[in-house]
Amino acid sequence: MSAALAFDLLLAAGLLWSAWQSLSSARLDRAILLFITFGLLLTLAWARLSAPDIGLAEAAIGAGLTGALLLDAYRALKQGSDAQVNR
């Protein structure tokens, strides 16, 4: 097994793991952070797919802006009531 294939497999496993965790995590803030992690791993995947343009956009927009929007919404909603937001 070549090093490249091993890296790809590891990356694939990391993508699936972070996606699964971000869907099933009990805490919402952790779910959002895992989603951002997922986005960063996805950036690597785009690099492996020789798509640096998408990698740049994914890092900036997919992980960055979307993550920031989600975190900001989480923060704003949390000001209301902690119990309900974090379910």
Binding site: A51, P52, D53, G55, L56, A57, A60, I61, G64, L65, A68, L69, D72, A73, A76, Q79, G80, S81
Partner: protein, 218 residues
């Protein structure tokens, strides 16, 4: 019960989809030679930018419209009466942000210029610009935006307007968005420049308009 059924269905679907992907013949159409063959006439040397702004530029025109549209919808939903300056960050962070923003402007300019012949372009540059604005907001140096005044509205729409105007003007020559090869490079650069500015404002706007809507629950 319903939950388990949905998850089971999703699993089965994933397996069916994956196995169907494994036995697939090579595609009968290959656009790569065509993309390469017309690269000279497209006005840019980077194939992805050529597809994005020339071969399938019409998609991109509508995509910017989708972004504007989302912004209109957000503006239609948020209330007017809110003041949204976040609590200022620590002075150290503010200084760091003041230092970072010019660097980010340089990066954006580089990405915009690079798009013509290597990875980069208006979307990446615009998102860096947006990130700079968001950073200023998060460190308390820039307030959230209210309903936009005329100047901001023009700024938000400028990229789309230039794109639309070029598309319509080229209609006189023959077809929608049909760049004459001699002018293609210059026209695309103009569009990308205006798009970068507007995309920066638009993407930042998604954040800055929203961040005003922080009133607590009743």
């Amino acid at each position: 019960m319903k939950k388990i059924a949905i998850q089971l269905a999703a699993l089965v679907f994933a397996l069916v989809l994956g196995s169907a992907m494994l036995d697939l013949d090579p595609a009968p159409v290959d656009l790569r030679p065509a993309v390469a063959a017309h690269l000279e006439a497209s006005g840019v040397a980077h194939p992805v930018t050529a597809v994005l702004l020339n071969y399938r530029g019409y998609d991109t025109l509508l995509e910017v419209a989708v972004l504007l549209l989302a912004l209109f919808a957000i503006l239609a939903v948020i209330p007017d009466s809110q003041t949204g300056r976040p609590t200022p960050a620590a002075p150290v962070l503010q200084t760091l942000a003041r230092l970072a923003v010019p660097l980010m402007l340089v990066t954006a300019t580089f990405l915009l210029w690079a798009g013509a012949f290597r990875p980069g372009g208006a979307f990446q540059a615009g998102s860096v610009l947006a990130a700079a604005l968001v950073l200023l907001h998060l460190t308390g140096l820039l307030a959230g935006w209210p309903q936009p005044g005329a100047r901001l509205r023009w700024g938000l729409a400028a990229g789309f307007l230039v794109f639309l105007a070029v598309a319509a003007a080229l209609l006189l020559q023959g077809h929608l968005l049909q760049y004459p090869p001699a002018w293609a490079g210059l026209l695309i650069l103009c569009i990308e420049f205006a798009l970068t500015l507007s995309l920066g404002l638009l993407l930042a706007g998604l954040f800055l308009f929203l961040s005003r809507d922080t009133e607590g629950a009743p």
